[in-house]
C-alpha cells in the first residue's frame, strides 16, 4: 500500500478545500501500533510502526520514518498534535505541539475521509469506543468508551488468535470461511479463553471458532453502539478496523453496512491529529491547552498583582 496520497485521492471532495498547505504532523500512539500522518503541499503521507515501551522513542522513530518516506526535513514541520494513549509523554523541543484525545482526533479524521459520517466505531488494542460526529465540522457530539474489560478489544482478538495458532489477520480470514459460528457465551476474556480451549478440544472447526470470537467481540461493541444510537454513515476505525472478520461481524450485528473510505482507517486518528494541527495554526483551535507541569496564566498574573 502506498504511503503517499494526493489530498483529492483520499479526502472527501466536499471538505478537501479546508486543508491548507501548512506542513503538520499527527501522531497516534496506540497501545499496539503507532501511526503518523504528515500533511504537506497537497499530499498526505502515512507511516506505522509497532509501539515500543518508551513513547518518546517510538514517536522519534516514527518521526524519522515519515520524514524519510516523504523527503521533508524536520524543521519544515510547523505543528504537531499527539494523540493515542501514549500522547501524554510526547515532547518536541523545537516544534510547537499539543495533545488532543484520540476521540476528538478520530472524529475529525473520519469527517475528512467521509464528510457524511455520523458515527464511528473505534476498536483499538485496549479499548473500544463509539463516537457520534457533527457532520458540519467533524467535532464530537457524544461518545462512549468501553475500557472495563479486554473483551471487545484488539487484545482479545490477539489472545484468541494465539490460542488457535493464527495471526490476527488469519483469524479474520478464517472467520469468513465459517459454516456455523461457534457460540462463545462468556463476556469475560478469561473465561472466553477456557471456552476456546474446550471448543478446540472438541474438534470444532477453527473457522467456526474464529467467527464465534468475532461475533462475541462484536456483540459487546454493538451494545456500546446501541447506547448512543449510532446511524449511517458509519466508519470503523482503530487498529482492529482492517480485520475483515470483525468488519463482517459488525455489519451482521448492526444490520447495516460500514462505509468504505479511501484511506486505511487505522490512520484516522493520526489524520485527525494532523488536521487539528492545521486548524491550530489557523487559529481555529486553542494553540496550547495547559500542559502538566506548566504554571497557569492565572497563577502568574495573580501572583504578580
Amino acid at each position: 500500500m502506498s504511503h503517499e496520497h494526493a489530498f483529492h485521492q483520499v479526502i472527501d471532495p466536499t471538505v478537501v478545500s479546508e486543508l491548507r498547505n501548512d506542513k503538520t504532523l499527527g501522531f497516534d500512539l496506540g497501545s499496539r501500533t503507532s501511526k503518523a500522518v504528515l500533511l504537506a503541499d497537497g499530499k498526505l503521507h502515512t507511516a506505522i510502526i509497532p509501539t515500543g515501551i518508551y513513547m518518546q522513542q517510538t514517536a522519534d522513530k516514527l518521526f524519522a520514518r515519515i520524514l524519510k518516506q516523504s523527503g521533508y526535513a524536520r524543521d519544515q514541520v510547523r505543528y504537531i498534535v499527539g494523540t493515542g494513549y501514549g500522547r501524554i509523554a510526547l515532547s518536541f523541543d523545537e516544534i510547537p505541539s499539543k495533545v488532543v484525545t484520540e476521540i476528538s482526533c478520530h472524529a475529525m479524521g473520519a469527517h475528512f475521509l467521509n464528510a457524511k459520517v455520523k458515527s464511528i466505531v473505534d476498536i483499538g488494542g485496549q479499548d473500544s469506543k463509539a463516537i457520534k460526529v457533527d457532520t458540519r465540522n467533524g467535532k464530537v457530539v457524544e461518545f462512549i468508551m468501553n475500557d472495563k474489560c479486554a473483551a471487545g478489544t484488539g487484545r482479545f482478538l490477539e489472545k484468541a488468535a494465539n490460542l488457535l495458532g493464527l495471526t490476527v489477520e488469519e483469524l479474520g480470514q478464517a472467520a469468513l470461511q465459517a459454516d456455523k459460528p461457534s457460540d462463545i457465551s462468556s463476556q469475560c476474556v478469561v473465561f472466553a479463553e477456557s471456552e476456546l480451549i474446550s471448543l478446540n478440544a472438541r474438534g470444532e472447526r477453527r473457522e467456526n471458532i474464529a467467527a464465534g470470537i468475532h461475533l462475541a467481540t462484536a456483540r459487546r461493541v454493538k451494545n456500546l453502539v446501541n447506547r448512543l444510537g449510532l446511524e449511517p454513515d458509519l466508519v470503523f476505525s482503530g487498529g482492529v478496523s482492517n480485520n475483515i472478520g470483525m468488519w463482517k461481524a459488525l455489519e451482521d450485528l448492526l444490520g447495516h453496512s460500514i462505509s468504505k473510505v479511501k484511506l486505511d482507517t487505522v490512520y484516522a486518528g493520526a489524520l485527525g491529529a494532523s488536521i487539528l494541527a492545521q486548524k491550530t495554526l489557523a487559529g481555529e483551535e486553542v494553540a496550547e491547552k495547559l500542559r502538566p507541569g506548566k504554571t497557569s496564566n492565572l497563577a502568574a498574573s495573580a501572583s504578580a498583582n
Binding site: 484525545t101 476528538s104 485496549q126 461518545f143 468508551m145 495547559l290 497563577a299 495573580a302 501572583s303
Partner: protein, 400 residues
C-alpha cells in the same frame, strides 16, 4: 512541585497549594485538610473528646456536646494502597467492594487501640459501611449506630410528625452515648446551628463569586471547602470560618477578568467525590470549571423551631440526601444556575447504588440536551487510569 511528581493524594494537596500560591486563603484551606485527621487524633490524645463520624447534618449536635467529629471518609480519602490491601487480604472484602469502604476499614485496622475509639454510624449509609462497623466492633471500637429514616416524596402531616418524633428520640440516644445523659444543652446547640447557617451563607456566596472568577478557586479546593470544610470544619470551626472569610474577601476584591469568562466551560459535578484528584486537575487543565456541585448546601437549619427539631427538619427538608429524584432536582438547579455546558457523573467502582442514580440522571439530562459523562473511579490512592483521563479530556474537548 511538578504535576509529574504527584504520586499520592497528599502530593496532590501540596501541588494544589502551589498552583494556588496567589491565595493565602486557599493555602490555609489546603493546610486544614492536610492536617485534619492527624491534628484531631493528636487533640484526642491530649484529652479532647473526638469520634469518627460521617459528619453531615449531625455536626452541630456533636460540637454542642463538646465532641469533635472526625470524618472517617476523609481518613480513607487520604489513604494509601496498604489500607486497601488490609481490607481485601486481612478482612477478605471482595475486590469489587466499594474502595471507599475498604480504605476506611484498612485505616481503622491500623488504628486499633491507638486512636479515637468511638464510631458513630447511621443506617443511612450503604450496606458495606454497616458491615464495616460490625467488623470494627469486634476490633474493639465502640460503635453506636442510629436509624436514619427516609422521608419519601409527599410525606407530610401525621406521618411526618411520627418521623420527626422517632428521629428526635434517636438524637437523644446519640447524646446519651456521647455524654452519659439524655440532656441536650439547647443554648449551645442553637449557637452551633447559627454557626452552621452562617457558614452555609458564606460558602454559598463563595460559590456565587466563583461564577465571576471561575479559575480562582479550582476544583479540588472547592470540593475540600464543601465536603469536609462545610460539613465538619476540619475539626477547627473558628479557624475554618476565618479561612472562609479570608477567601470571601479575596474574591470580593478581585476584578472580573472577561477573558476568563469567555474561555470557561462551566460544568456540574454530580455524584461522589473520590480520591482521584487527578480528574479534577484534568478538568482544570482542559479549561473546565466545576461551578456547580450536587453537594451545595441547599437550605439553612431552621431557627424558628427548637434546635433539636431544627436538626431533624434539616434532614427531612433538605433534599440533598435520599432518593435520586431529589438529587436530580438539585443538579437541575445547578445546571441552570451556572449555565452548564456539561455534567460530570462520578461514582466509585463497586457502588451499585450510585451507578443506578447516575444512569437515571444521564437519561434525564440527555433528553434535556445536557451532555454528560459517566465516570467510575476508585477511592484508593494513586493516579487515575489513562482511560479515565482520556474520557474526561475528550468530554471537555467535545464541549469546547
Amino acid at each position: 512541585m511538578n504535576i509529574d511528581e504527584v504520586i499520592t493524594q497528599r502530593d496532590y494537596l501540596d501541588y494544589t497549594k502551589q498552583v494556588h500560591s496567589y491565595s493565602n486563603a486557599i493555602g490555609r484551606l489546603v493546610e486544614l485538610s492536610h492536617s485534619y485527621i492527624t491534628d484531631a487524633e493528636e487533640a484526642h490524645k491530649q484529652g479532647k473528646s473526638a469520634i469518627w463520624a460521617n459528619g453531615f447534618w449531625e455536626t452541630p449536635l456533636l460540637y454542642a456536646c463538646g465532641v469533635v467529629p472526625v470524618s472517617f471518609a476523609e481518613m480513607g480519602r487520604l489513604s494509601d494502597k496498604e489500607a486497601m490491601e488490609i481490607a481485601e487480604n486481612y478482612y477478605q472484602f471482595p475486590v469489587e467492594t466499594c474502595s471507599m469502604v475498604k480504605c476506611v476499614v484498612g485505616q481503622w485496622h491500623r488504628r486499633r487501640g491507638t486512636s479515637i475509639k468511638k464510631i458513630l454510624g447511621s443506617s443511612g449509609a450503604c450496606e458495606p459501611f454497616n458491615l464495616a462497623w460490625e467488623i470494627m466492633k469486634k476490633e474493639g471500637y465502640e460503635v453506636y449506630n442510629i436509624d436514619v429514616t427516609y422521608r419519601a416524596p409527599g410525606t407530610e402531616g401525621k406521618r411526618l410528625d411520627q418521623l420527626i418524633d422517632f428521629f428526635k428520640n434517636e438524637l437523644y440516644g446519640v447524646v446519651e452515648w456521647l455524654t452519659g445523659s439524655r440532656e441536650i444543652d439547647e443554648v449551645r446547640l442553637q449557637t452551633e446551628i447559627r454557626r452552621k447557617n452562617r457558614l452555609i451563607h458564606k460558602v454559598k456566596r463563595i460559590l456565587e463569586l466563583r461564577l465571576s472568577h471561575p479559575f480562582y478557586l479550582k476544583s479540588l479546593p472547592t470540593i475540600l471547602l464543601l465536603n469536609i470544610g462545610l460539613t465538619n470544619y476540619f475539626g477547627k470551626p473558628e479557624e475554618f470560618e476565618e479561612v472562609v472569610d479570608e477567601l470571601l474577601a479575596e474574591l470580593e476584591s478581585r476584578p472580573v477578568d472577561q477573558q476568563e469568562l469567555d474561555r470557561v466551560i462551566p460544568l456540574v459535578w454530580a455524584g461522589g467525590t473520590g480520591q482521584e484528584f487527578g480528574i479534577y486537575e484534568a478538568i482544570d487543565q482542559a479549561g473546565g470549571s466545576l461551578l456547580g456541585l450536587r453537594t451545595v448546601p441547599i437550605k439553612p437549619y431552621r431557627e424558628d423551631v427548637s434546635p433539636v427539631e431544627a436538626l431533624v427538619r434539616y434532614l427531612y427538608d433538605n433534599q440533598n440526601g435520599g432518593a435520586a429524584v431529589y438529587s436530580r432536582q438539585i443538579i437541575e438547579n445547578e445546571v441552570a444556575k451556572v449555565n452548564a455546558r456539561g455534567l460530570v457523573l462520578y461514582g466509585y467502582i463497586g457502588c451499585s447504588f450510585a451507578s443506578v442514580d447516575r444512569e437515571m440522571w444521564r437519561n434525564y439530562f440527555h433528553q434535556k440536551g445536557i451532555p454528560s459523562i459517566n465516570l467510575e473511579g476508585s477511592y484508593q490512592t494513586g493516579a487515575p487510569t489513562g482511560q479515565l483521563m482520556t474520557r474526561v479530556k475528550a468530554f471537555i474537548e467535545m464541549l469546547s
